[in-house]
Assembly symmetry: C2
Homo-oligomer: 264 residues x 2
Amino acid sequence: MKQPIGIIDSGVGGLTVAKEIMRQLPNENIVYLGDTARCPYGPRSSEEVKTFTWELTRFLLTKEMKMLIIACNTATAVVLDEIRNELPIPVLGVISPGARAAIKKTVNHRIGVIGTEGTIRSKAYEMALKQINRRTVVHSLACPKFVPLVESGEYAGSLTERIVSETLQHFNNKRLDSLILGCTHYPLLEPIIRRVMGEEVEIISSGEETAREASVILSHLHLLNTSEEAPNHQFFTTGSKEIFKKIASEWLQITSPNVNRITL
Amino acid sequence: MKQPIGIIDSGVGGLTVAKEIMRQLPNENIVYLGDTARCPYGPRSSEEVKTFTWELTRFLLTKEMKMLIIACNTATAVVLDEIRNELPIPVLGVISPGARAAIKKTVNHRIGVIGTEGTIRSKAYEMALKQINRRTVVHSLACPKFVPLVESGEYAGSLTERIVSETLQHFNNKRLDSLILGCTHYPLLEPIIRRVMGEEVEIISSGEETAREASVILSHLHLLNTSEEAPNHQFFTTGSKEIFKKIASEWLQITSPNVNRITL
């Protein structure tokens, strides 16, 4: 099936999912919408997140997607079930894939989760992890400073390094063996997070794992694209086309991504 | 849903899948059937493998399973599509999960596959890998000596070490960065295989990955077991109950597995 996979996010964070789709499913077309103008979703009320996420979904429904990925953890926590029940196509969030991957990797069953205030407040990861294995010990931490760093393109440098390091001190002596990046913006900070947490902690990127699950479900439903044409990716943002284009081309290593600005 | 996950295999190899199901889905019940009396399937004709696999499937259908996993690569290559089309429950093989995991892990797109003669002859991995990414370079090798070693309980020791090492010399200078264990018996030899291949090669166990995909599909279809009861696993073998029990208790770390011998 040539129809694209739809990806929505509060901004550029979902590009980490898009990148993995491009790597793990190189034949698939992608249509991406990032709500950069209203990012971050993390500190917003559930009602607002719900309304915004439905607006993004409705826009992508006009693009005839065959699957929708809600690449924002905050939106997944609040509105995945509702959207999944309403849409006739498979709808994936990023929380279950991250939780499942952590359960697969952990040995001591002590798992850390970092995310936005909204995601952590929802306890969605904790519930997903405990649903799979009740014995799991979960330590969660909201990191409200991380998304603004990434959206402004500041994902390296000494200021970022200091903020990440100070924030993650929370996990000292918690004996975690796995840490879930419960926000799709965080993989852009992954080299720093990895340095701060140390080699013995497995870093799990929900985005990467979501791409893997998209592949499983598309294949199970016989929806994979078997056409020989080169894929065609379209990106939409509600914010600055230039900043989005810069981050998308750096992160996805595409020289000139097809980016358009829209108003919802 | 409390109904068990059914697992069939030519012998004890599928226990590597059972082990991962127990780890990644600790609430699920398992019913396992190993056709030890007629193992290995690798050198048999397609017709024979097809007949035997249907016999195993029919036996497990009497146990009201909610999902069937064909944990034998040879059987998956020959008869997965046919069984999937006939059964009203989800049916998983071990080949696509292994292929997908390798695609996720590889960087240089040079992937090795080891399996039985039947699996390698079928080119099932090669097709699965190339279907996902045409650029993939696949080097395949049949290792007919490995299954008999495992089934006889000889999965360590210097003889085994020498056989594995001589067999895998085939891959010298092939510049692989990932090797798929395309037979569910091979994870029992994994420590030796890992030593022989060296640290820079990622070893992918199809069994481990299949458990992960079972979790994705059960969750997507709302079929996970949410009961609080401790799980109850049943094992059946067509061969020696004692040898099966010994391997199952060692490998699964259960003191007294519930094993019964049956005749098909």
